[in-house]
Assembly symmetry: C2
Homo-oligomer: 203 residues x 2
């Protein structure tokens, strides 16, 4: 694909560097932007610069925020003794949407993935260990993806937390609510039989 | 979805304004950018500004270009008497990739689409009519999408060109080469029977 403009080609290259965007899609997006007014493109470009300039990491949990302490950590109405360990803000948004959790979070920023060159040192783990050492945490919930990388990360943090004698839990895994049994994947179904739970009458 | 940073929310809003990008994808892209260095984000943002600032429309054909006349129009080796009418540069890239066309192009920039509020005046049509009036064009090829909008645009331009007595052709439509007949859609197959062509032995 030989684009007859170096400037459009640069935009295509930058857009195609984003995850899940191919060159063809990138060109479509570039042309869409090219058809906008100068002011619109100015606004478009400057939001990226502003984001990089002004977005902070919460000093408590590592979540992205516009203030030194994020809105969840500064909310005194939330349970400060329960900490849910997540990969990034998208997991927080998903959990918050359930309205089932009123504790705090700890954001790792990434999970251990040797294939992508991400080791334990690239994760925001130390502040969690420090907080655990202070003795105010009553429960730590592991809420990472149920993948090889997530499991590895869970294990790494588990070893680091072992000496503090804090109960560690993880999200329950099993057949999704509302889904038909016959469509559940074998691994999930097998695990949900092995990890079967006491029957409870729904309220 | 309540993002705890106004700046990230702005980026998500801008990215989600692009065609085919939803809010969820936009957030994934925004976080990817947030994890890059300041220099990388600077480069990312400035390519958009540069594109808007420096990309021109070819004075001859309306194609995007970095120079006043695009590389195709300024190529004296190409047939100047044949003009292929396309919607935008992506169609040119597709046709150029076939290496089957050595004429020039005329880029409309859009096609008539009342649903999207795009009328004939939003299209780059006048220069084509002017060129047709100069009497140097021997053939005009309509290469717009085979949709209601494409057909409407074809008809509109056809009416404008009627008095110049220039042969107008259009891309042949039919069953794709290499595809099995049973999978061709009814409309295409029906039309390709009605518009059957003399059998030629392939060289």
């Amino acid at each position: 694909m030989k684009i007859p403009s170096k400037h459009i080609e640069n935009v295509v290259e930058q857009l195609a560097s984003l995850p899940g965007i191919g060159k063809r899609t990138a060109l479509r997006l570039a042309l869409n932007l090219l058809n906008r007014s100068k002011d619109e493109v100015d606004t478009f470009a400057h939001t990226f610069l502003d984001m990089k300039k002004f977005v902070l990491k919460c000093e408590e949990c590592g979540n992205v925020t516009d203030t030194p302490i994020c809105s969840i950590c500064s909310n005194s109405g939330r349970d400060q003794q329960t900490v849910c360990v997540v990969e990034d803000i998208r997991d927080i948004l998903a959990i918050e949407a359930t309205e089932s959790y009123k504790g705090r979070y700890h954001v790792l920023g990434a999970i251990i993935s040797p294939m992508d060159g991400i080791g334990p040192n690239d994760l925001n783990i130390e502040p969690l260990i420090r907080k655990a050492g202070e003795g105010t945490i009553k429960e730590i919930i592991f809420a990472l993806s149920s993948t090889m990388e997530g499991d590895t990360t869970n294990y790494y943090i588990y070893k680091k937390l072992q000496n503090f004698n804090i109960p560690i839990t993880t999200l329950s895994r099993g057949v999704a609510i509302g889904s038909e049994l016959q469509y559940a994947d074998e691994l999930t179904l097998g695990r949900s039989i092995l990890n079967r739970q006491p029957f409870k009458v729904q309220q």
